[in-house]
């Protein structure tokens, strides 16, 4: 039954794309406020996976508690990075030279994180134990792995939480306002530096949560960050840079294209996805869904 297999593959792809799109949403949020591309996002992804793994296997905490703890720890680390490492005038910058400096700094930070993890955990892959083993049959012949289903539902809840945060809290509305008009927001008394710290923290928390969730389905190793980073760029570009809920749509498109590609051309699927995305970036740099979804 090719069609049933294809649908299974499609479902898995959608769930994977949904969870992966959390990374892209974080990247988008950071770009919206700080106007910088966070090249260390992959590092926060692996950091999340390894933190969650350590909490579960060394302290024997339950999965959800570990994920929450991971998110908290990453938030503190990320906000600290912006506060202590970035020069104060580069926290929010539109100047190309400043943006380049920040990108290079973050790449160096990612290198440090990668090798700290390599030193601590060794080169082999680790996996967060999954709490729902096995798979369920939705229709005859159509399967989905339980853990993947759980993970994608958790991701949807995280998106919901982000939406509520941005829409109904004072801080969230501040971020919203700052992303729309920086000068006016600063004139109204919002501090760009403080918002940059918070936004970077939230964005990186998204990456680390995605890492923790995906590490319970697949596995993670210290150099995985570099292969996830381009995928995050793909999703961001599909959804439009600076557009958080566009990333959700971008993640779904990525999941569908990637899984269909895997089904027909196997490993070359990743090459195809990257090439398609490269083309989109050249034709429409603001992203495929640039104008469709409300911009944040």
């Amino acid at each position: 039954m090719i069609s049933a297999q294809l649908i299974s593959s499609l479902l898995a792809g959608i769930a994977y794309g949904l969870t992966l799109s959390l990374i892209a949403a974080g990247l988008s949020l950071i770009y919206g406020v700080m106007k910088i591309v966070n090249t260390s996002h992959g590092a926060f992804y692996i950091l999340g996976g390894f933190f969650c793994f350590s909490f579960i296997s060394f302290f024997h905490l339950p999965l959800f508690v570990s994920i929450l703890l991971t998110a908290t720890v990453t938030f503190v680390i990320a906000a600290g990075v912006v506060y202590y490492v970035l020069p104060a005038n580069l926290r929010v910058t539109v100047d190309p030279d400043g943006q380049n400096t920040v990108m290079i700094t973050f790449m160096a930070l990612a290198t440090i994180v990668e090798y700290l993890l390599l030193f601590t955990f060794g080169g082999s892959s680790v996996a967060v134990p999954s709490i729902l083993p096995g798979s369920i049959e939705i229709f005859p012949g159509v399967f989905i792995v339980n853990q993947l289903l759980l993970v994608s539902i958790v991701s949807l809840f995280i998106y919901l939480a982000l939406y509520l945060f941005l829409k109904y809290t004072r801080l969230g509305r501040g971020i919203y306002a700052f992303a729309q008009n920086k000068e006016l927001a600063e004139a109204l008394g919002l501090s760009g530096g403080f918002l940059a710290c918070v936004t970077f923290g939230i964005g990186c928390t998204f990456a680390s949560t995605s890492g923790a969730l995906l590490a319970s389905v697949f596995s993670i190793n210290s150099s995985a960050g570099w292969s996830v980073l381009p995928l995050a760029f793909v999703i961001v570009t599909l959804g439009g840079i600076g557009n958080i809920f566009g990333s959700l749509a971008g993640g779904l498109i990525f999941g569908i294209v990637y899984s269909v590609g895997l089904f027909f051309i196997q490993a070359y699927s990743i090459v195809m996805v990257l090439l398609v995305m490269y083309g989109i970036l050249l034709i429409k740099p603001t992203g495929l869904l640039g104008g469709l979804v409300e911009r944040v």
């Binding site: 790449m107 030193f119 490269y278 050249l282």
Partner: protein, 316 residues
């Protein structure tokens, strides 16, 4: 103006970088005759990445284009050399001439398509392009890559060829930056719109510098492949794209001297520290070095040295 006068002027303009190139060259030659083989290997590594970082520097400092995927032309140069030598059985000299040209064609064409993007987007597009090459090479030749089964050239010959490549490359970059083209490119970097209104063909020069930079990166890749006699998919990885950037940033992105300084420091770090303290700590130190230099001396170590030197007369 005669050629010699022009040469003299060039040398006067960039005295420091010219003398640094000569000092390096003399050091390399001495290393060969003293017969420290590990030192020679370090120098070959240094030369490959020096050429790569100089090509990145040429692109970044002379047209403001940020390439986060400069491993693409580097790796294409290395891979095409290996394919020409081991699969197609070309004569080594022809392969050596063709490989950087292939790299220039590939890297330049990719760059050509990204010319009109803004720096951050351009960086991402080039990073994605290098990742495409990463996956294609991994899927086509596998994890073991392509190796030269038999040593085609003797070790001494390889060292000589690499030395020649680096000298040609560094001198040409040196002349480009001290020529009229260099001035035009600097103008484009500072203000693209203003230089266009003064009659400089911005697009043409941006494309030209991209092809030139890819050619030099390809030369670097060729020498890298020559001395390791091996090329595999890791050559296209993002850390490999980041290495030349780190070298230029640590040394100082304003001058070729800074680029040379940075590549010497980082190459020595990368080749000698792993013996003493292991690979992870080497990379951690390397990362901290880049972060600290960017935070404390945004103009690079060269900028810091210059500031210290110019301060002295004022104080005393």
């Amino acid at each position: 103006m005669s050629v010699f006068e022009e040469l003299k002027q060039h040398i006067e303009r960039g005295k420091v970088s010219f003398s640094l190139i000569s000092i390096l060259f003399v050091l390399f030659v001495i290393a060969f005759f003293t017969g420290f083989s590990y030192l020679c290997y370090t120098f070959m590594y240094l030369i490959s990445y020096l050429v790569l970082s100089a090509s990145w520097y040429l692109l970044y400092s002379y047209s403001g284009q940020l390439s986060l995927g400069h491993a693409l032309p580097f790796g294409v140069g290395a891979f095409s050399l290996m394919i020409f030598l081991s699969r197609l059985n070309f004569h080594p000299i022809i392969a050596l001439i063709l490989a950087p040209l292939v790299a220039a064609a590939v890297g330049g064409t990719v760059g050509l398509t990204t010319i009109r993007l803004r720096p951050a987007y351009q960086g991402i597009a080039l990073l994605i392009a290098s990742q495409v090459a990463f996956w294609i090479s991994l899927l086509q030749v596998g994890e073991e890559g392509i190796s030269l089964g038999v040593q085609i050239l003797a070790g001494g010959h390889i060292y000589g060829i690499i030395l020649l490549i680096s000298l040609i490359c560094m001198l040409s970059i040196f002349f480009v930056e001290n020529s009229k083209i260099g001035l035009k490119l600097k103008a484009i970097k500072e203000d693209g719109l203003a230089s266009q209104s003064l009659g400089i063909n911005v697009t043409y020069y941006k494309i030209l510098i991209f092809f030139a930079s890819s050619f030099f990166a390809g030369l670097g890749g060729t020498s890298f492949a020559l001395y390791t006699s091996h090329a595999d998919y890791t050559i296209f990885s993002i850390p490999n794209s980041f290495l030349p950037i780190a070298m230029v940033v640590v040394g100082g992105s304003g001058e070729l001297t800074g680029c040379i300084l940075g590549s010497v420091i980082i190459s020595i770090l990368m080749r000698y520290l792993p013996i003493k303290i292991g690979l992870p700590w080497t990379y951690i130190i390397y990362g901290f070095l880049v972060v600290l230099v960017l935070k404390i001396y945004p103009a690079g170590l060269l900028g810091a040295i210059k500031r210290a030197l110019t301060k002295k007369p004022e104080g005393g």
